[in-house]
Amino acid sequence: MSYLSERPTKPVVGETIPHESSALHVTGKALYTDDLVGRTKDVLHAYPVRVDQAHAKVTRLDTSQALTVPGVVRVLTGDDVPGVNDAGVHHDEPLFPTEVMYFGHAVAWVLGETLEAARLGSAAVKVDFEPLPSLVRVTEAIEAGSYQGAQPTVARGNVDEGLDRSEHVFTGTFEFAGQEHFYLETQAALAQVDENGQIFIQSSTQHPTETQDIVSHVLGLPAHCVTVQCLRMGGGFGGKEMQPHGYAAIAALGATLTGRPVRLRLNRTQDLTMCGKRHGFHAEWRVGFSSDGYLEALDATLTADGGWSIDLSEPVLARALCHIDNAYWIPDVRVHGRIAKTNKTSQTAFRGFGGPQGMLVLEDILGRCAPLLGIDPAELRRRNFYTEGQETPYGMPVRHPDRLETAWSQVLSSGDISRRQADISAFNAAHEDTKRAIAITPVKFGISFNLTAFNQGGALVLVYKDGSVLINHGGTEMGQGLHTKMMQVAATTLGVPLSTVRLAPTRTDKVPNASATAASSGTDLNGGAVKNACDQIRERLTVVAAGRLGVPAHDVRFEQGNVIGLGTDEQMTWEELINIAYFQRIQLSASGFYRTEGLHWDATTMKGTPFKYFAYGVAATEVEVDGFTGAYRTRRVDIVHDVGDSLSPLIDLGQIEGGFVQGAGWLTLEDLRWDDRDGPTRGRLSTQAASTYKLPSFSEMPEVFNVELLDKAHEEGAVYGSKAVGEPPLMLAFSVREALRQAAAAFGPEGTSIDLASPATPEAVYWAIEQARDARADGHLTQGFPGEVPAQPGPDARPMLANAERGQYGVPSGV
């Protein structure tokens, strides 16, 4: 057992405790960025000037009328930017654009004494433009050859040979929708400037360091002039990894120019129509199976709909390519990826970060092909699981593949699946207009940032003279319980009760150069760093305690606020020891650091070991579908998920359940619709409100929802033996989609292959049922080698650059 993963006796990690802020949440006392406005004097409010064109050139911007509106203080335009006019890191995201790239793109911002004044001022700004041709659908971009960024390929073996030796070859396409984050708290920033020109920004951001970087380069200031703080977020899900920076920069620019605090909060309509979302994808594929249903070869081209700028599309695509295998061994693979450039919001990180999209392609293939192979879909999946000694297509050994099989068996037995399958057969035979089905699907998800450099974390731990402990770390809290776990880690390492530890809000002047709280890595990275800082302090204290207790240093134990010497009755309290240490002039603070060991990734060849480990999970879902309408209910869900040795079981359970329901939302309910007709509203997001973009509500919660953590799941080399949990459970929701497919198929003859749209809304399920009833559902696949060859890279396609996840990262050119 590694030092990092080993737990002391009586650890605080592993205890079932509620979220550290739960009492503040339920009483309305927890503060979010925009709650600070009323506590700040003389705040100005920012409101965008937007152009309702999918694509247009701005020919004139006249702000004079706006300045006559009572309460309008200033209009911010590109001329006001002292540094770089860019909200991103690739210099393709002008903060104040002269070319409108998507419907509702903001070209200027109005500052007002009230939000109402700023809104009226915005309406008074005159913008002239020349419309330009636009691309809205991903298929339009493919036809036009409109791509951006790299076009990488993950490959192993020889796909043509693999397909040639396959007994069954199928070819198909699949276009599926993205997803709106719909964090309940919209994007928000509040910027102030102090007497010395120091900018202080409170921002709802998953990546304070990058917010700091972008503000710095917009203002043309070195990073030490800008401090970013995030108290907490009202949800992030990846939507606050890149998107907050520009809004923070607008607020900071306004504060710099007016000397007054500036607040920028998007309302829901603005947030929905201005911020990036999960990428929708288009996939073309050929797949080969052996006569007994083993995957032999996969040839696919995935096109991510990137929207108007590159944003995080390259690493999202990389993760999609690295997850198309999901849990399955495929000998010969060639997966090519590209990013469409369209006139839509700049699509971005979203829980799973391309992984779900890659995995969905293969799960869809398995769901469509199983009936044609004559193999039960559950059996087809299980048969193809990775086994010990096999590698992923990008060359990483798959460690612990037995956990897939263990979790699968456990779900089969705890979910009583075989009896329920029999019940369902009987139910379906007795009901003409209602059908049920159970589907079971696995998840294997790689943990770490693909880009090795991001896999580092920092912390600052302070012990005060009275023994109380204050911890700072570089991660942000968005509801995932990171802060709770960090407090548990600190209490465990220092051997003190949880009540001794307090956590300070995330700030860039406490912990510099932090990575985004993303890629499920918050606990691994920051937990490693917090533990490292606490280890340093404890080691110093051990020497002090050994002297006092008269035992060798290695016989000193820190437990629950007491310091004990083995083999002696002597002990002292933590507070006594701290007091002694202070008078001995022992340093009682430490900055901690952690870097994930053993990672290697060559972005150019798309080969290496980009992940520290894989998280595994299995879900079985039963649905009931109404044949009259296509409406459905989720009757029961059984999940076994691998979180290593859980640091905080209640928190982990919440991540699994919440991720599952969010994934089910993406796959079944949440329906992003963009107006792709020619006309004045071309490019407009039609579902731009909570009334038209429907999130899962109580009616989507599974009626019976059983979640178990996988036993004996200790993870070597991760903090206290735990595993990341943020993203992987989202993909357990494939079981809902596959159950809907199987239930729709049950309306038709045995062996009906169903093409199910994604999201599988009631309407989509209804059309799938109609296909099944007419037994005309087989036209969506073609069979036979060679099939349609997926589009291959053109001559101008370039591979991923080594630092592809961040263009000219961290080089503010205004300095």
């Binding site: 739960s22 309940l184 509801g479 995932q480 309408t629 919440g654 929802f705």
Partner: protein, 485 residues
């Protein structure tokens, strides 16, 4: 009219506060400007419930109080003069959590916490609901009903993006009975604050709550551009999303003349300013078709605000009451300063958001003729089961005697610029045997009704298909009930 006030008193968490902001300021923005930032804006249109607060409203007997959860983002703060409001901050503190807060906190009911104060308020309203009692020791939790009497639909207007809802459900189902010494529980035993006649003005814009119907009609006559509001569930969206700023808003929701329920030999009459929740409570199952409608109409939060008159007054083609009321052959009583007139609902809608209601007229009540038909149903086609807007909504009322359809009424929403009756289909059914063949032929006709459109909710093809399958479904259900194959 008397001089307009420039300040109004509102009691929040037991403390008197003064409202002096713009007349269009919604309750949420005002509470937040007062430093009560627990309630949040999540959507600004009454869909997410993050802004939910409790308001002391008269219970149906008039002598007691019911804590009623409302979306604070949808209602003008000026409408709350003299009223009592409780926010999450007023329910408990971190040191002394309210039972609802306690259960939510310890069971993992909050993750990011942003939606949580709203959930807490909606849950508290159900906690205090008169008649919510444990169903005995043998009671068990059902999917949408707790053994403690908790109705999960009371939370259908609150969205959480983090938890997946299971721990919130468990928190709700773990709540006990309200102890006798609970101050908010005890508050329910006394009457709720009466509605204060209000005339408020700020920056030249006014909110008026008349004391009588005659006064309301007079103000409306004198100010033809005034916006009459009853539940404000549309007003709030117009103000928040479309930036509508009316010079004068007239609050009708507490006018006693519009809040009666009367049953005669020949009809049931529902006052236009009754909320959907109030009608549901007071009818108590009297009209089965409406009982099918209520849970599908919208969330409890919306039904606590939205009035039946408001739903008809806006003239929306996708309002959910018209298809049901058309099937029930309902009539509207319209009232003006010159008196009242009765209009069949089938003649009320004249075009997209156009009706026969004349300027200066208000809807006074809705009359539902008796006796009621034997077979009734309300089918709502939407993406989400709880709290969604209809793609198509269909109300049915059939009298079938001796296997023959004697009378058929079918109301449709979402298939044309107005709600409409499917008169051709009704004619095709009446006098025919209630058989699968009749239904199949009628369903084919029903599919051709209206001119459904393609939009983000559904395709026109699906809407048409749903018209047909809906009739087949009600037939399947009615025959299943009778045990006929």
């Amino acid at each position: 009219m008397t001089e307009a006030a420039t300040a109004l008193d509102v009691t929040v968490n037991g403390q008197a506060r003064e409202f002096t902001d713009a007349a269009h300021t919604n309750l949420l923005d005002w509470l937040r400007s007062e430093g009560l930032t627990g309630a949040k804006e999540g959507c600004a249109e009454g869909e997410c419930g993050a802004c939910s607060v409790l308001v002391a409203r008269p219970d149906s007997d008039g002598d007691t109080t019911r804590w009623t959860a409302l979306n604070a983002c949808l209602v003008p703060a000026a409408a709350f003069a003299g009223q009592e409001i409780i926010t999450a901050e007023g329910l408990g503190s971190p040191e002394a959590l309210h039972p609802v807060q306690q259960e939510m906190a310890v069971r993992g009911g909050s993750q990011c916490g942003y939606c949580t104060p709203g959930f807490v308020c909606s849950m508290a309203a159900e906690y205090y609901r008169p008649g919510r009692t444990a169903c005995g020791p043998e009671a068990v939790d059902e999917p949408e009903h707790g053994a403690n009497g908790f109705d999960l639909h009371s939370l259908s207007g609150n969205l959480c993006r983090c938890t997946g809802y299971r721990p919130i459900r468990d928190a709700a189902y773990a709540l006990g009975d309200v102890p006798d010494d609970d101050p908010l529980g005890a508050r329910c035993n006394g009457p709720a604050p009466a509605a204060s006649p209000t005339s408020y003005e700020a920056d030249g814009r006014r909110f008026v709550r008349p004391a009588t119907l005659t006064e309301a009609l007079t103000v409306l006559r004198d100010n033809p551009d005034a916006v009459p509001v009853a539940g404000c569930t549309d007003w709030g969206v117009d103000v928040n999303i479309k930036s509508a700023r009316a010079d004068l808003v007239i609050g009708l929701d507490r006018l006693p003349e519009l809040r009666g329920i009367e049953e005669t030999e020949t009809y049931v009459e529902l006052g236009a300013a009754l909320t959907l929740s109030e009608i549901e409570q007071r009818l108590d199952g009297r009209i089965p078709l409406l009982d099918q409608l209520f849970p599908q109409f919208a969330s409890r939060l919306i039904r606590n605000g939205a009035t039946i008159g408001g739903n008809l007054g806006t003239g929306s083609p996708i309002g959910d009451t018209p298809p049901a009321l058309l099937a029930l052959d309902a009539e509207l009583v319209l009232v003006g300063l010159d008196g009242t007139r009765v209009v069949p609902l089938a003649d009320y809608f004249t075009g997209y958001r156009q009706t026969v209601r004349a300027p200066g007229e208000l809807i006074q009540s809705v009359r539902i003729p008796l006796p009621l038909a034997g077979i009734t149903a309300f089918h709502k086609i939407a993406k989400r089961r709880f709290d969604d807007i209809s793609s198509v909504a269909i109300g049915y009322a059939f009298d079938v005697a001796d296997g023959v359809v004697r009378k058929a009424r079918i109301g449709l929403g979402g298939v044309a610029a107005t709600p409409l009756r499917a008169t051709a289909v009704e004619a095709a059914l009446e006098g025919k045997p209630w058989t699968a063949d009749t239904v199949r032929a009628a369903a084919a006709l029903l599919q051709e009704e209206g001119t459904p459109m393609d939009d983000h909710r559904a395709s026109s093809k699906y809407r048409r298909a749903m018209l047909g399958t809906s009739l087949r479904k009600i037939y399947a259900e009615s025959t299943a009930k009778e045990g006929v194959a």
